[in-house]
Each structure stands twice: as structure tokens, then as C-alpha cells.
């Protein structure tokens, strides 16, 4: 078997094991909370008899292990249960919001990742000179602003001073792609500002690290232009650390943007999760938690595998 294929299978198997462990931790965490779902539905004034009846009906009188495997079996077959508060099927409710989350994250990533790489390369090219300082100062400023401050600043600037966009980002099924793009423009701008600096700094540092190598001197002595040297000779060797930072930021774009969603009234997973945490809707919290964990693990597996493939020593063994 090709060593790359072997590594790939290993990483994916490891990811699945990790996901299983995370599901157990989530289940245990929810289990450790005082009260249970029956209590939450019936409220403080429930009689013990009513509680017992409901528990038997929902299967809550079963041992924890049995319930865990029932839940896990449901997750495997796509059945995440029903929300307590409104009885809506969780899988269905998540499906649409997950689409919105991925749309927003995707738009932000498509802009932020290439921009970060280009700015990082330019900063490395002019290291210590004014383009480097300007890029670093601007991106560090945007990352230092709390998200909601950045969000309100962008709203103020682009809806009041220059009224180009809507201050709320409401999307609904049936909207055209362009209309959707226009709707998410403001949150995308805010997210790009938030994730840009980290990826840019890592790209710059990784390239500068490689620029010390003897083969960069070879490239200089070949009479190549500085930008050609960076793109063709430095960047391919600096890619591994950049990829892992990109993966962390992409994961953040999916699971960590609840504040931005709230500010722009964007109906996506983060807001859904926060709503149901306040209502103690435990099945929803469990389901969303598991999805977030899967996104994190999945992106990190992709990052690992890409870094491995980017290494010619592993791709082409002796």
C-alpha cells in the first residue's frame, strides 16, 4: 500500500474514534446537568407520577448506557430526535441553518484565505519595510477589535455613511444566489477582518523562515524576481504550518461566529444553539455540539492530510 494512502486511512480512522469519544463526552456533560428532559418539559410544578409516566414514555427510565447507544444509533441513521420546546425534528431544523452557516463561512473563506496568503507573501517580500508595517498594523488592528465592535463599525460605515448594504442579513429559502450574496456582504466583511490577521501572520512567518534556506540563495543567483522566488521556491516549502492555521480559522468561521450572527440577525447554527441553550433544550444542544465537533475534527484531518501530501519526501519515497 502506498504510504500516503496508509496515512490517509489512519488519520480518518483516528478522526472517527475521536468523534466517538467526543459524542460520549457531550452525552456525559448533558447527563451531569441537574434535572432531565422530562423535568424540563413539565416544569417545576410537575407531580412525581406525571414525571415518571413521561420518563417511561421517552425511555428516560432506561440506564444511561442504553440511552447513549440509542442516541448514537439515532445519530448514525440521521435521526437527531425532536426539539423539546416546539417538537420540530432537529435534523430538519439544523439542515437549513447548517446550509446558512456554511454559506456565510464559505463566502468569508473564499475572500479571507487567498487575501491572507497574498498579504502574507507581500509582507514577507518587503519584510521590515513600509508595506510590511502597513499590512501588519491594519490586520492586527482588525483582529484586536471585538467582533461586535467591528460589526457595528462596519454597519455604521456601510449603511449610514455610505448606504450600500442592508444592516440585517436575512436570508430565506428561494432567494436568488446574488440576493443572498448581497445579504451576507456585511457579516462576511466582519468575518474576513477577524480571521485575516492570524493566517496572514503565519504565512509571513513561514515564508520568512524558509527564506533563510540555501535554495533561496540559489534562486536569487538564478536572477529570479523576488516575487517569483517567494511563490515558486519559498511558499511550497512553507505551506504546512499555513495549512494548519487556515484550518483552525475555517473551523472558527463555522462554529465560533455566533456574535456576528446575532448582530446581523442571521439565522444560522450559532444562533440556533444559543436560543436552545437558554431554553434548556438538551437534545438540540447535544446535536449541535456533535456537529461542531465533527466540523473541527474534519477540517483538522483535511489539514493534516494536505500537509502530508505537500511534503515531497512522503509523496515520493526514495
Amino acid at each position: 500500500m502506498h504510504p500516503i494512502l496508509k496515512l490517509l486511512v489512519q488519520r480518518i480512522a483516528l478522526g472517527l474514534v475521536l468523534l466517538l469519544a467526543v459524542s460520549a463526552v457531550i452525552f456525559l456533560g448533558v447527563e451531569a446537568l441537574p434535572g432531565d428532559t422530562a423535568q424540563a418539559i413539565l416544569g417545576q410544578s410537575a407531580t412525581p407520577q406525571a414525571l415518571e409516566n413521561l420518563r417511561a414514555q421517552m425511555g428516560l427510565d432506561q440506564p444511561a448506557l442504553t440511552r447513549y447507544f440509542n442516541w448514537l444509533g439515532g445519530v448514525m441513521t440521521g435521526d437527531l430526535g425532536k426539539a423539546l420546546t416546539n417538537g420540530v425534528d432537529i435534523a430538519q431544523a439544523i439542515g437549513q441553518r447548517l446550509g446558512n452557516t456554511l454559506f456565510l463561512a464559505g463566502c468569508a473563506a473564499v475572500i479571507a484565505v487567498p487575501l491572507a496568503l497574498i498579504l502574507g507573501a507581500v509582507a514577507a517580500r518587503y519584510a521590515g519595510r513600509w508595506p510590511d508595517k502597513v499590512i501588519s498594523a491594519v490586520t492586527l488592528t482588525t483582529i484586536s477589535l471585538p467582533e461586535f465592535v467591528a460589526a457595528y463599525f462596519v454597519i455604521y460605515l456601510l449603511t449610514i455613511v455610505f448606504p450600500v448594504f442592508q444592516p440585517v442579513a436575512i436570508v430565506f429559502p428561494g432567494m436568488s444566489f446574488w440576493a443572498k450574496l448581497q445579504a451576507v456582504a456585511l457579516p462576511v466583511i466582519v468575518l474576513v477582518m477577524v480571521v485575516l490577521a492570524h493566517m496572514m501572520r503565519m504565512t509571513r512567518a513561514a515564508i520568512l523562515n524558509v527564506m533563510q534556506s540555501a535554495y533561496i540563495e540559489t534562486a536569487e543567483l538564478k536572477g529570479l524576481s523576488p516575487m517569483t522566488i517567494i511563490w515558486k521556491h519559498a511558499f511550497p516549502n512553507a505551506i504546512a504550518p499555513v495549512i494548519s492555521v487556515v484550518a483552525i480559522n475555517l473551523a472558527y468561521l463555522v462554529v465560533g461566529v455566533v456574535v456576528v450572527e446575532v448582530v446581523f440577525s442571521y439565522n444560522a447554527l450559532g444562533q440556533y444553539l444559543v436560543d436552545h441553550v437558554t431554553k434548556r433544550d438538551l437534545p438540540v444542544v447535544q446535536a449541535v455540539g456533535l456537529i461542531f465537533a465533527a466540523v473541527y475534527i474534519g477540517l483538522n484531518i483535511i489539514a493534516d492530510v494536505t500537509s502530508i501530501i505537500a511534503n515531497p519526501r512522503l509523496r515520493h519515497p526514495k
Partner: protein, 557 residues
């Protein structure tokens, strides 16, 4: 892009006049200061000629070589003089002009091709890169030329080697690929910067022959930079001897080798002329009996059934190329790598396989000196502390008794007063190695294992160290196990020789027997590969090998 190169230039290809090169140094704890590396050197190179630049480290030879591309490595500045390439001044030329010259009119071959190739790109893409970026030829033409050059340089499977990545090719082959890369854009001048120094002696001769042939066939001019006079004598038309950034002597190769004018040149030519009378065989101090060893986690033996011994007061030289198991043998003797089979006895008693099982006296009597004196000393301790440590550890010396003994040892290594309070960073390479010798000496050992102790030093400095070691041996009757890949050193100091190849001892005995024919194939290959300071040596060896067929058989078996 139109070539800025004048069409018909009749003068010399390269003319450097009054070149001054400076750099800023940052000594610890002091303000940065300006140092001058090259003080007004003149170089003239005619078309198609080869000029050898020779000198020890710090002589400025690489710096001068790179100035032909108007390139200053690591903050080095070309501050004065003229550099005329094909008749036009390039020292003050703009970066854009220099980019048109570099990789087209002048190309560069570095000391370490392994580090100079981009690890993530295929060799062919790197070899033809300049041909394409300078618009010299089409991709298919460039590839065809590269394959022709690969073939000329004797690379295996020239059609497909370009598809490989640098890590898939051996060091000697990479050096040849780099030569092909330098020749591919049909430059006027190639700068060879110690291109064979990092190679094993048996590989060096092939690369040297390939480079020489390629220079002759393409008619390119070359600056050949090296610290090894015997090597440059094989390829250069003229040789310039440099020292401390100044020209010492310039002449034809014949003049420099056979009739040197300056004292410094004479010293360089006569280096390694140490005479050492071979001691007769005697009862052994160290006896290594059928030792076999392997590293944990590997599935092959690095030492196979080694049986050698060493009498007191004598020197056993262990020679071989990299990977032959020389240093592993030292690890087995010191107990750092316990052998899986065999016994090591010392001074009539059997030593425990691992160092943890040895007495303090066992440890004291076997000391080691390493190749890199730099990394073998704690940079935060003074010379006095470094040498004093074994005195405290083995003999319990303290206070003024210890200081007195430290000074005695410093006198013994000819360093005299005032060094005890210095730090390693303030010493030169040769002085650092002397301190390491003093540290070994402090334990009053019966055996010192010297692992490539002169390899990182300039020839004249190395000579001084060897003379010191011999003098100390005569004085104290210590035995040396001398690990080296340098056969000139072996001739100079050994009583016995063991030739190692792939973990086995191929040839072993008294020096006069080992160095006398008839040889086995490997020893013949090894001995005949050592460059000798005479014109036409390379051709003679290659002719001998063609007749006997040794070169090909020897490396392979």
C-alpha cells in the same frame, strides 16, 4: 527582454579592480562594527579559462567568487572597486540589470547541492528554470540540453533523473545535477564554490572529473573556489592564493604547485609533510573482539564482526567514507552503544558493554575529542571551568591546585597564559580544538578517541593540531584511536590502520602493510582517490582505473 550583453567584447571576460568588501559584525555585548573582508583585490579572467581561488576560511574566496555576480551573501556589501563583466560595470548595477545577468551570463555551483536544491520541486524544473526565465530557449530545447548535460556528467539514467526530487538522489549525483544546472543556460562564467568539499573522497574524484570534462567541452570560463590545493591543481589554469582578504600570490598552476614564491604558499604546498616513524607491533591496550552492533529500531548491523586492537602509546587510524561505521565504533568502545555481540577489553580487563556498568577509572582512562569543537563545549563556561571539570570529577582537585593544573594543561597545548578566563566564542577554531584536547588530557587517559578532529579545520591549523597530538603522545605514551576520512592525515600519524566499508573492516594491519600493494579493490579505490598535489594526477588515476576496471567495481561491492 533584450540581452544587455555587448555583442563583441574583446577584453577579458571578468575584470575586478581594487575590490573592497565590507560587512557589519555584531560582537556580543559590544556595539556593531564595520569589518573589511576583502582589501582591494584584482582578478582578471579570460574567456574559457579556469582560475582557482584558494585560501583558508576567512580568506574571502567565496566572497570574491560571488562578487562576479555582484552578490553579497548575508549582508555583505561590495563597497569599493570595479567589477567588469563582459566589459561593463556590475558592482553598481541596478537589481533589474543584475537579474538579467545572474543565471544567464554567470551561474553558481554551491558546496552543498543537497541544501541548494528546492526540496519540493523536481530536478528538471530547477535545472531548466533559468533557460526559461531568461527566455534563452524553449522548454523542449532546454530539457533536451539538460539531458545531454546529465549524460555528459555521467549521471545514471539521464533521461529520467530529472523527474526525481532532490531527496531521491545521492549527494555526489546532486552535485553533478547542480553543475548541469549551472551549464544549462550556456553561461560565460561558472562559479564553483567548493563543489567537492562535502563529498567522500571516492565520490569527489568522479565529480571532479565530470566537472573538468564539462568545463573543457563547453568552453566555459570558471572560478574554482576551494581550500584544497591538490583539488584545484587538477582543474585550474591559474591559481590565486588568498589570505585575510588579500592576494598572496598569483600564477599558473605549475608555478604555484612546483615553484611557489611566497612563504604562505610554500606552507600550503608542503602541508601534511609530517614524518612519523611507525612503531612495531606490541601487546594490545585496547582489544576489540568480534564486535557486532546495531542501533535500536533498525534491522541491520552497523558494525559487523569487528576485530582490531591497539597497543599502548600507538595510533590506530580508522578510515572509511561516511556511513562506514567509524563513529559507531567509537560509540561502542565508550559504551554509548552497547554491542549486541563480541567483547571489548582494555588494559587486560574486560569492559562492561554499557558505560553505566563501568567504574569511574574505566571512564577516566578512555577520553574523546570530537569533530565539532564548537558544540562539544558549553558556550556559557570559561575555558578554565571546561578544563577544570575533569580535574574535579576524577581527581577531586579544587581551588588553587586545580587552577595550577589547568594552567599546566594550557601550557601543554601551547596556549599559554590568559586563556583560562575566556569563553569558547572568543577562540578560533584551532584554539577550540586545543581546549578540547586539554580537557581530554586532564583526565590522564590511556586512550583518546579522536573522531574527525581535524576535518573542520583549515589545512595549516589541522597540521598544528596533528603535530601537537604527536608531541603529547611522545610525552605521555597515550594511545589514539583516530577516526578520519582523510588519508593524508592517516599517513602522517598512524601506526596501524583499519579500513572500514559498510560496517566491516576491509583491511587491517601495520601502516606499512596496509599502504603497500597488493591492495584489495576497495582500499585501492580509496587510496587512489586522494588528490595529490601534482599536475595530471586526475588523468593518471582515471586512466589506471579504465585499465583495471576498479572504479566501477569498487564502489558497488
Amino acid at each position: 527582454m533584450t540581452p544587455a550583453k555587448p555583442k563583441h567584447h574583446d577584453g577579458p571576460l571578468l575584470e575586478i579592480r581594487g575590490l573592497v568588501i565590507e560587512a557589519t559584525s555584531y560582537p556580543p555585548g559590544e556595539p556593531p562594527k564595520n569589518v573589511t573582508l576583502v582589501h582591494g583585490v584584482d582578478v582578471t579572467l579570460q574567456k574559457g579559462k579556469v582560475l582557482g581561488l584558494i585560501g583558508e576560511s576567512g580568506a574571502g574566496k567565496s566572497t570574491i567568487g560571488l562578487s562576479s555576480m555582484s552578490y553579497g551573501r548575508g549582508g555583505v556589501r561590495l563597497t569599493g572597486g570595479e567589477i567588469l563583466l563582459n566589459g561593463r560595470e556590475i558592482r553598481t548595477a541596478s537589481p533589474a540589470t543584475l537579474r538579467r545577468i545572474r543565471g544567464k551570463e554567470v551561474t553558481y555551483v554551491s558546496q552543498s547541492a543537497a541544501a541548494s536544491f528546492n526540496p519540493s520541486k523536481r530536478l528538471m524544473d530547477q535545472v531548466i528554470e533559468t533557460c526559461l526565465s531568461h527566455g534563452l530557449m524553449s522548454k523542449s530545447e532546454a530539457q533536451a540540453r539538460a539531458i545531454t548535460l546529465f549524460r555528459k556528467l555521467g549521471l545514471p539514467s539521464p533521461e529520467t533523473i530529472g523527474n526525481r526530487y532532490p531527496h531521491q538522489v545521492s549527494g555526489g549525483q546532486l552535485q553533478r545535477v547542480m553543475t548541469a544546472m549551472a551549464l544549462c543556460p550556456k553561461p560565460d562564467l561558472v562559479v564553483f564554490d567548493e563543489p567537492t568539499t562535502a563529498l567522500d573522497v571516492t565520490t569527489q574524484i568522479d565529480v571532479l572529473a565530470a566537472i573538468k570534462e564539462a568545463i573543457r567541452d563547453t568552453g566555459v570560463a570558471a572560478l574554482y573556489i576551494t581550500h584544497d590545493l591538490a583539488v584545484v591543481a587538477q582543474v585550474a589554469d591559474e591559481i590565486m592564493v588568498l589570505r585575510h582578504g588579500r592576494k598572496v600570490e598569483l600564477g599558473t598552476t605549475d608555478q604555484i604547485i612546483n615553484h611557489p614564491g611566497e612563504d604562505y604558499t610554500k606552507a600550503l604546498v608542503s602541508v601534511r609533510s609530517i614524518e612519523h616513524e611507525e612503531n612495531p607491533e606490541a601487546a594490545p591496550l585496547l582489544k576489540i573482539d568480534c564486535v557486532t552492533a546495531r542501533y535500536a529500531g533498525t534491522n541491520f548491523d552497523v558494525l559487523k564482526n569487528i576485530t582490531i586492537d591497539l597497543p599502548p602509546g600507538q595510533t590506530l587510524a580508522v578510515v572509511g567514507e561516511s556511513g562506514s561505521g567509524k563513529s559507531t565504533l567509537a560509540r561502542a568502545i565508550t559504551g554509548l552503544l552497547p554491542p549486541s555481540k563480541g567483547r571489548i577489553s582494555f588494559d587486560g580487563r574486560q569492559l562492561s558493554a554499557a558505560f553505566a556498568g563501568r567504574t569511574r577509572d574505566d571512564l577516566r582512562q578512555i577520553q574523546m575529542i570530537y569533530q565539532m569543537a564548537d558544540t562539544a563545549m558549553n558556550p556559557r563556561q570559561t575555558v578554565g571551568t571546561i578544563i577544570g571539570r575533569p580535574l574535579e570529577f576524577y581527581f577531586g582537585l579544587k581551588g588553587s591546585a586545580r587552577d595550577r593544573r589547568v594552567q599546566e594543561l594550557l601550557d601543554q597545548i601551547e596556549m599559554g597564559k590568559g586563556f583560562a578566563d575566556r569563553y569558547p566564542a572568543e577562540l578560533s577554531g584551532g584554539q577550540k580544538q586545543r581546549v578540547c584536547i586539554a580537557r581530554a588530557l586532564a583526565a590522564k587517559p590511556k586512550l583518546i578517541i579522536c573522531d574527525e578532529v581535524t576535518s573542520a579545520l583549515d589545512p595549516l591549523v589541522a597540521d598544528g593540531i596533528l603535530k601537537l597530538l604527536l608531541a603529547l603522545q611522545a610525552e605521555t605514551r597515550m594511545a589514539y584511536l583516530f577516526i578520519t576520512h582523510d588519508l593524508a592525515t592517516v599517513r602522517a600519524i598512524a601506526d596501524k590502520i583499519a579500513v572500514m566499508y559498510k560496517g566491516e573492516v576491509r583491511r587491517y594491519g601495520q601502516k606499512s602493510d596496509v599502504l603497500a600493494p597488493p591492495f584489495d579493490d576497495y582500499t585501492d579505490l580509496l587510496l587512489s582517490s586522494v588528490p595529490e598535489m601534482e599536475l595530471g594526477w586526475l588523468e593518471g588515476v582515471l586512466e589506471h582505473r579504465r585499465q583495471t576496471g576498479i572504479g566501477k567495481a569498487g564502489a558497488g561491492n
